[in-house]
Amino acid sequence: MTTTETAPPRHAGGPLPKVREKMGRRFAYAFLILSILPILVGYTWLVVATISTRTRGLLPTDVEGNLGGFTLSNWDFVFEGAIWSAMLNSLLIAVAMVIGVGIASTAGGYALSRMKFAGRKAFLTGTLVLHAFKAEMLLIAIFFVLRFLGDIPIIGDYIGFNTVGGVALVMVALELPLGIWLMKGFFDNLSWDMERAALIDGASRFRVWWQIMVPQVRPGIAALSLFTFIAGWNAYLVPFTFTIGTKVANMPVFLNQLMSDTAPTNWNLVAAVGLFQMIPLIIFFIFTQELLLNIYAGGSKGT
């Protein structure tokens, strides 16, 4: 009942709300364009560089520095075996990660979302904390682990040091905390009733998971798969650290090997290989943008 306060008249003197909103939007656009400009320039250079002998700024030039100098010779590497072996290794790592992370996260996420067991809370916080540790910190320890695994007869040849399997194993482990949390988020959003109905209908817990629950989180699995595939495809640090030579190099490592310490680097070649590496991802992305957006929406709910 106090009348001592008098509210100031709305928008007194200032621009009308609609105008203000319009200006705000313009400002936002200007800000966004400015902030992505460096990246756009970078990509433009990348594309231009792959088809020219040299570049000056964003302009293609020939050896003498005159405008022009278009060439396809930077792309000659596609006719050599090394790039295809690197691509195969990249593919193997990425696919192994999709399968490994997919299965473990879908099972683990369900268990953490739905089941009660000792240490559940500790495990959840533990994985989150572990995710905060960067892979770099673990490199030396992982090196010893891989050496140990390599000494195991038979399977050691596939998952030890300097094998694609070993790299994939490490990458899966590093990606798991994120995957498990993500899938837990998706399972958390599902109703209990459906699960109860299936239990009453006569399904075992495993069957409930496999036949009833997993089909409900298919968008999550799809998004997670894409996410992991990209992570595996672009993996650099782990493959670089735990492989020697060209036989087990994946694409980013192959790219790095083009930049030698002793000879001058052909940057146009590096650009071409870089672009080549991106092509599968770009195609992937065009077809799956919506799913990729879904991963954030799904993961943030209910966790």
Partner: protein, 366 residues
């Protein structure tokens, strides 16, 4: 199947969901668990289903304790409020799921599913996806899935709450008809007392995890054993007044500042035995407007002012203030009561109720 719950309890870290529920359900009976949300009725149902492990007490089916029997081995079918259908399967896939898990041969499955679907009136929808069905159709699929394995016990968890009012009425009758035709023992959880009254053979009224009353619907309505039951059962709800009952010239009278009513001898005697203040209850339909043609006896009328008039169609629900004591009465709408009118109310005191304000127990139906 006969169901017996004996001191059945459930608690989570000190939070009590169900507190020593004891009741028995006869073979073929439909029992409603009635109560407001959070009263423990769904908790109790899920214990009967085997989804929750009781923390105390036993559940027996036909005399066999089933506490440790897995849900799938209890011979039950369940219908959920959310229907809980499997959205990635067709109608056929949903209804046949329990049978497929039993590994019946395909011909039998087809035949049984078709029979159940026909009974539910969804025989021509078997190829549809769940998302293509209306709420009512989904409800029928859920019921079909529960019935197809020929359960000994049917469990309903507020199955009609998500349907619109008209459909609810239809499904109510249909569920009751099917349950009676098949003679399946059923437990029906609901917070809607009309649903419970119309469908159930007996109603278990629950509040805060405790079984308040367990009786046939008429008994709950006419002879409520606790204040909670009296308040919860019946729509519009019972009116309550603080009064004292005393003997006066051979009559028993319920008195307060606003109220002075003659109470029938049998009820008055029991109420007067409890000294001091008590709570009097009158249902809105047991109070009428005075009729000029037949003036009522002394001590059965009170005069008040109409403060609210809510037309219900057939009747008006009139809020009346008697010396600042508010009550609601159902009045024939031809009387045309309007807000501000002075009305003379006639109390049918043969249906009066009395409760102890401390224990909230009935003084009449101990």
């Amino acid at each position: 199947m006969r169901v017996e719950l004996d001191n059945l309890s459930k608690a989570w870290d000190g939070v009590i969901g169900a507190d020593r529920i004891t009741l028995d359900i006869a073979d073929g009976e439909l029992v409603a668990f009635l109560g407001p949300s959070g009263c423990g009725k769904t908790t109790t149902l899920l214990m009967v289903a085997g989804i929750y492990q009781p923390t105390g007490g036993t559940i027996s089916f036909d005399g066999q304790v089933v506490n440790l029997v897995a849900p799938k081995d209890r011979g039950i079918g369940m219908v959920f409020q959310s229907y809980a259908l499997y959205p990635h399967m067709t109608v056929f896939g949903n209804i046949s799921y329990p049978l497929r898990l039993q590994k019946l041969n395909k011909g039998d499955i087809k035949q049984k599913v078709q029979a159940v679907a026909d009974m539910m009136g969804i025989g021509d929808l078997l190829d549809r996806k769940i998302a293509q069905l209306s709420g009512g159709q989904q409800q029928r699929v859920a019921l079909g899935r529960a019935l197809v394995k020929e359960p000994q016990l049917l469990l309903f968890d507020e199955p009609l709450s998500n349907l619109d009012a008209r459909l609810r009425l239809t499904m109510r009758g249909e569920i009751k008809r099917i349950q009676e035709d098949l003679g399946i023992t059923s437990i029906y959880v609901t917070h809607d007392q009309v649903e419970a009254m119309t469908m159930a053979d007996r109603i278990a009224v629950m509040s805060k995890g405790v079984l308040q009353a367990y009786d046939v619907p008429e008994a709950l309505y006419d002879r409520p054993k606790t204040l909670f039951v009296a308040a919860f059962v019946g729509n519009p709800p019972m009116n309550f007044f603080d009064v004292e009952v005393m003997r006066d010239n051979g009559d028993f009278r319920a008195k307060s500042e606003a109220i002075d009513l003659v109470v029938p001898h049998d009820r008055g005697e029991k109420a007067a035995a409890a000294d001091g203040k008590l709570i009097m209850g009158m249902r809105p339909e047991d109070v009428n407007l005075a009729d000029d043609a037949s003036p009522p006896a002394e001590g059965l009328t009170l005069i008040g002012e109409a403060v609210v008039v809510e037309p219900l169609g057939r009747e008006d629900l009139v809020g009346v203030s008697i010396n600042d004591v508010e009550m609601r009465v159902l009045v024939d709408k031809t009387r045309g009561v309007r807000v501000g009118d002075t009305v003379t109310l006639v109390f049918n005191t043969s249906r009066i109720q009395f409760f102890d304000p401390e224990t909230e127990a009935s003084l009449l139906w101990a």
